[in-house]
């Protein structure tokens, strides 16, 4: 159960929930990461580059396969659409041309959904790709913003905040130029609000990229 967190603890500033990430926790996949953001928790396992089915083979680049597994029941339309979003984001970032005629399989398991699921999946995927050691031209992260009735922006909303929000916007942002790789919006918002959310997400992305950096720094600190 999500405890009501104090979100505006320092003045009026929106905040990201606590982030915890563990890499390489599964022995079978080539890369794996567990990403916990607030109470939302996802686990990702990546196999690749490996052999590909002939029917899916692309002669000049790697084939991406993304599987998003819900916790209860079988994957449906919602999962399929999210899979496509994550797949396209990965294709934009990973240097697939270095591994032609091979497949990169990304399996994402939802462990707990307590809001900002898509952005958590994106973050977990990026950490997984880093752990698998796949060449990428930049890192990426996902940030979710919720707009309430008054137009206030809440970053990284919890489930309850997401439900009460007028609009929920999720962006994937790359680390090199802080540009938008993917965006997904639900609800209505004005052009101005959209730009505000993008700007806020870009600020939040800095924090997440710093987290990636510190995490990698810690991981390789004893080499």
């Amino acid at each position: 159960m999500e405890t009501e967190q104090k979100r505006f603890d320092s003045g009026d500033l929106p905040a990201l929930r606590r982030i915890l990430c563990e890499q390489g926790l599964l022995s079978r996949p080539d890369g794996s990461a567990s990403w916990i953001q607030g109470d939302t928790s996802v686990l990702v396992g990546i196999y690749g580059p490996t052999e590909v089915k002939v029917s899916k083979e692309i002669y000049d680049k790697a084939t991406f396969e993304v599987l998003l597994k819900p916790k209860i029941g079988l994957p449906g339309v919602y999962e399929r659409s999210r899979e496509q979003m994550i797949k396209k984001t990965c294709e934009a970032v990973v240097l697939g041309t270095l591994h032609p005629r091979s497949s990169i399989t990304i399996v994402i398991q939802v462990v707990t959904d307590a809001g900002s699921l898509l952005s958590s999946c994106l973050n977990a995927t990026c950490m997984g790709l880093v752990d698998a050691g796949l060449p990428m031209n930049s890192l990426f992260c996902g940030v979710t913003c919720a707009l309430d009735a008054d137009g206030n922006i809440t970053l990284d909303p919890a489930m309850k905040q997401e439900k009460e929000a007028r609009a929920v916007l999720t962006f994937a942002i790359d680390s090199a130029e802080k540009k938008i790789l993917m965006s997904n919006t639900k609800g209505s918002c004005s052009v101005e609000e959209l730009q505000q959310c993008i700007a806020a997400s870009q600020r939040a992305a800095d924090t997440i990229f710093q987290f990636y950096r510190d995490s990698a720094h810690r991981k390789y600190s004893k080499w």
């Binding site: 915890l20 996949p29 109470d39 928790s41």
Partner: protein, 432 residues
């Protein structure tokens, strides 16, 4: 992707080691791997780690109408999924033999042993009962899936709380967790599966085989037992003959192992409950050891979004206004309108291309009809007279085209169409 096969030397090495009573991971024959149980923030959610094998369990419930022949019993549903995350050999959504076998064994272990009181899941007899769904996801496959899955299933069931309901007359009220504390399921006993791998036709026996050991084993014996040493299920697979003594030995070992595991489960459950009661931190986040070098954590981070508004305004101000939309379409002829400015038709000259096609067709027709005219002789002449009739009778598209064609082409065309239509146009042939 296919599973990487185990090479012959690896197989021989493993078997030789087993003959010398040694195991690759340094365990003794009857040793179990370490079991670690962690709970999620939701009720009925747990991850069980058996060595490196990892299973995620989640229990959910739903009010449904009962099965007609079991009007007062709730429904238990088990679903084990072999996620491709666990091993590249597992394909998504495929019902492999292994999966069917594991699911069935799990059902026999937990449902048929009547460890859950299904009658307590009844709300209104014959109308509303609880359906308890147990979803198990294999996250990492390192051998002995069934033991890990059975532990995960029973732990998740013990941890689960269903919403409280009350019945007043015909009315069923469902209470949210805030209104009334959710109630746990009533569990009579906890059956746990223990696997034994047999090698060299049953000469050697190992408890809790790892993935590599599973690949070289000859047979598998799975015994499900509760802590009162009551056997719930027993299954031998792989086609080896076991002696009575071997089975008895295995059941004795199972009794010891099940007692140990049950104690561990109860300790884990009590620990989680204590933390929840005290209002401490719980969930998977707390179960990741923070000292681990591969794990990293930051506390809640505030983001400075002070000048976001100005930034957004700036972007919008800089952005070029959207191009003007041409509102009034140009009406060329009734039913044909144009939107946008004088764009050339890029579809090419229709008449020309049509002519070309026709010429080609004529050429083809000539070659195909040559021998046909020879065969039919007079009929082709008679046909010319009756061509009006042919057109009238026909409903094929080609006939319509004929009217527009020049004379020479028409002649040939009618012949071909005649040939085509012979079968379908009985009236014409009758006239002849």
């Amino acid at each position: 992707m296919k599973e990487t096969p185990l090479s012959n030397c690896e197989k021989r090495f493993l078997l030789r080691a087993i003959e010398e009573r040694k195991r690759l991971d340094g365990r003794q024959c009857y040793d179990y791997r370490n079991i670690r149980i962690s709970f999620g923030t939701d009720y009925g959610c747990c991850i069980v780690e058996l060595g490196k094998t990892r299973v995620l369990g989640q229990v959910s419930c739903e009010l449904v109408s009962p099965k007609p022949n079991r009007a007062t019993e709730g429904i238990l549903f088990f679903n084990l999924e072999l996620s491709p995350m666990a091993s590249p050999a597992f394909e998504p959504g495929r019902q492999s033999d292994l999966l069917v076998k594991l699911n069935r064994l799990l059902e026999r272990c937990l449902r048929n042993s009547k460890c859950i009181d299904t009658e307590s899941l009844c709300v209104v007899a014959g109308e509303k009962v609880w359906q308890i769904r147990v979803d198990l996801h294999l996250l990492n496959h390192n051998g002995n899936i069934i033991d890990a899955a059975s532990i995960a299933a029973i732990v998740a069931l013990c941890h689960f709380r269903r919403p409280d309901v009350s019945v007043q007359g015909e009315e069923v009220t469902l209470y949210t967790p805030e209104e009334r504390d959710p109630v746990p399921l009533s569990i009579h006993h906890m059956p746990i599966c223990v696997s034994f791998a047999f090698f060299q036709q049953g000469t050697y026996l190992l408890v809790d085989p790892s993935e590599q050991e599973e690949r070289v084993m000859d047979g598998l014996l799975v015994i499900a037992m509760n802590k009162h040493c009551e056997i719930c299920t027993i299954q031998s697979s792989g086609g080896i003959m076991l002696l009575k003594d071997q089975v008895l030995l295995c059941s004795k070992v199972t009794g010891v192992k099940v007692a140990e595991i049950t104690e561990l489960i109860q300790k884990a459950l009590a620990n989680d409950q204590k933390v929840r009661k005290e209002g401490g931190k719980f969930g998977f986040a707390e179960s990741i050891p923070n000292q681990r070098i591969t794990a990293f954590k930051i506390e809640q981070a505030t983001i400075d979004t002070d000048d976001v508004q100005e930034q957004a305004e700036e972007i919008i101000a800089k952005a070029s206004p959207p191009s003007e939309v041409l509102a009034n379409p140009v009406l060329w002829a009734p039913g044909t309108a144009q939107i946008g400015e004088g764009v050339e038709n890029s579809w090419g000259d229709f008449e020309e291309s049509e002519k070309e096609e026709e010429e080609e067709e004529v050429a083809q027709d000539k070659s195909t009809t040559d021998d046909q005219t020879m065969e039919m002789g007079d009929t082709s002449v008679g046909n010319q007279d009756k061509k009006d009739e042919t057109i009238v009778l026909s409903d094929s598209e080609e006939e319509d085209v004929i009217i527009l064609e020049p004379e020479g082409a028409q002649k040939n065309r009618t012949e071909t169409s005649y040939k085509q239509d012979i079968a379908s146009k009985k009236p014409v042939s009758k006239k002849k």
